[in-house]
């Protein structure tokens, strides 16, 4: 079943909590060179979808495979960058210790982090271009800096897939451009799936867009069909398109087709 370059596959995945369907018959494939943005309204199941892929939530129906393995096994190939809304600024931890935490899955209990772990942590910090911050305390960093630390942490295991949950939620607009530039560099080595409610921004950068509101619609380009958007957001498309219309929809060509 599995195609040569496939890294994530979801077949007919349905998830419900307390009788309410959160994800409905999701079919989703990520290939090794993909750069996918998943958009959708809040409560549309974006975070749940990531948790299903990570094996933190098990589906009622359907199958998930990460490089041909179950999520619990396959997630060692995933670098996960969480949303950090609940970050505790007072927690006493340095950037260096946070990044090293990424190596936990490669280490084992009763052992200290070894030279290889440290080398990987340093390499990852270099990749996100913030090695200079390594002795700083996490609570003293800006949102954008912290975001890069979490990416560095995710990169320490040389993942095949990078999953990012609302990565730009607490970054200032000036930092955003640099952030997408960084992802653009990283995608040469890793498949990227990022989830956001901010459709105007991500559609500029990713190769493919998927719209999620319980059901998932995947597109082979970043031109979003108005019907799909309407189905996803359940509100008039104009409202979204007028934000940055020429970026999201190419001149409303579908209208003339009708």
């Amino acid at each position: 079943m599995r195609m040569e370059n496939e890294v994530v596959r979801l077949n007919n995945v349905t998830v419900s909590f307390n009788g309410e369907t959160i994800l409905k018959r999701i079919n989703f494939v990520v290939r090794e060179d993909d750069y996918i943005g998943i958009i959708g309204p809040n409560g549309g199941g974006k975070t749940t979808l990531l948790k299903v892929i990570l094996g933190l939530v098990s589906p009622d129906e359907g199958e998930i495979s990460i490089l041909g393995e179950s999520p619990e096994k396959g997630r060692r190939h995933i670098g996960y960058v969480p949303q950090f809304a609940e970050f505790d600024r007072a927690f006493p931890i340095s950037v260096w210790d946070t990044v090293l935490m990424g190596r936990l899955s490669q280490s084992s209990p009763f052992r200290r982090f070894d030279e290889e772990d440290k080398a990987k942590a340093e390499e990852s910090l270099k990749k996100v271009r913030i090695l200079g911050l390594k002795d700083r305390q996490m609570g003293s960093l800006s949102g954008g800096e912290r975001q890069r630390i979490y990416i560095a942490r995710a990169l320490t295991t040389d993942p095949k897939i990078l999953l990012l949950d609302e990565p730009t939620a607490s970054i200032d607009v000036e930092m955003e451009a640099g952030f997408y530039e960084l992802l653009n560099d990283l995608r040469k080595n890793v498949a990227i799936v990022l989830v956001s409610h901010d459709i105007s921004v991500i559609s500029v950068h990713v190769d493919r867009i998927a719209c999620l509101n319980r059901e998932l619609y995947v597109h082979d380009s970043t031109e979003i069909d108005a019907d799909i958007l309407e189905k996803t957001y359940k509100c008039p498309v104009e409202m979204i398109a007028h934000g940055v219309p020429h970026r999201v929809l190419r001149e409303h060509t579908h209208k003339s087709k009708r």
Binding site: R75, L104, P109
Partner: protein, 282 residues
């Protein structure tokens, strides 16, 4: 009389050793409790352990062993019920807290005769620590120190980011229960010093002060150990010099005072520094 004359008494030596042994676990576990924000769980476990003291009286076994049984039981109970039964954690803690105390009083009441040193289990009495208790405390210390040395990075990870620790494949539930058991063990080591009611203060105050001076978890633990030892020694000395001062209460009041002074001093210092900075800019 110089401050250290009181060391020449044997009971004082026992008291000091007990204080030092308690400081070690107190600094380590107190730091974990404070950074993880589970102070209230510590309070619940320590109060619940009183049930074991009462049971100890009733069955004529060592009250500290009874306390250990109850503190471990309530630690695991609070952990499991709040994680699996989907009950609100603070509700569960409150119930364990009061039910444990009630069980203690219940059994004390059933025990024939008068319970002479009941107060010492509630509020501590470091002056009368028998040597056998020192051995028990040493064992408890070895357990806590051993776990922290062997599982430091894991404990740090589940405290900072539980979700990430899960994805990394750590046995998060087990580690969390282990952390609660470390609290349980520490509480028992503190009973002789400050009693079940005051234990939570000695667990949190040194860590709370240390947290203002360092951003490193290990250094925070070390500084907390030093501070709790300092508070215990000062409290012990004061209660020795001024008969009528209860040692447990004195130790806690010394700690609370130190906390208040730190808060004020830090505030004052920060203000002065920002004024200086403003002065430089102008």
């Amino acid at each position: 009389m110089s401050m250290f004359d009181f060391l020449s008494y044997e009971f004082m030596r026992n008291a000091l050793i007990a204080g030092l042994l308690a400081s070690i676990v107190c600094g380590i576990v107190g730091t974990l409790i404070v950074v993880r924000r589970i102070v209230f769980i510590g309070g619940g476990i320590s109060h619940a352990s009183f049930g074991g003291v009462g049971l100890g009286y009733y069955l004529s076994i060592h009250p500290l062993l009874g306390a250990l049984l109850f503190s471990l039981g309530s630690a695991i109970g609070i952990g499991l019920v709040s994680k699996h039964a989907k009950e609100r954690e603070d509700t569960v803690i409150g119930i364990f807290w009061a039910a444990g105390m009630a069980i203690g009083i219940f059994f004390v009441g059933l025990t024939p005769g008068y319970a002479p040193d009941l107060m010492s289990y509630l509020f501590g009495s470091i002056i009368v620590v028998p040597t056998s208790d020192l051995w028990l405390m040493l064992l408890l210390d070895l357990f806590v120190v051993g776990v922290v040395i062997l599982l430091y990075k894991e404990l740090q990870a589940i405290s900072f980011d539980e979700e990430y620790a899960t994805i990394a494949g750590l046995p998060v539930k087990f580690l969390y229960l282990l952390m609660l058991c470390m609290i349980a063990v520490t509480v028992v080591a503190l009973i002789r010093i400050v009693g079940v009611i005051l234990a939570i203060a000695l667990l949190t105050i040194p860590a709370a002060i240390s947290g203002k001076f360092t951003y490193d978890l290990k250094r925070m633990m070390t500084l907390s150990i030093f501070l709790s030892a300092l508070f215990i020694v000062i409290g012990l000395w004061l209660s020795f010099e001024f008969p009528g001062l209860r040692s447990g209460a004195t130790i806690i009041l010394v700690s609370a005072l130190a906390y208040a002074i730190t808060l004020i001093a830090k505030r004052f210092w920060t203000k002065r520094r920002s004024k200086q900075l403003l002065g430089h800019e102008a």
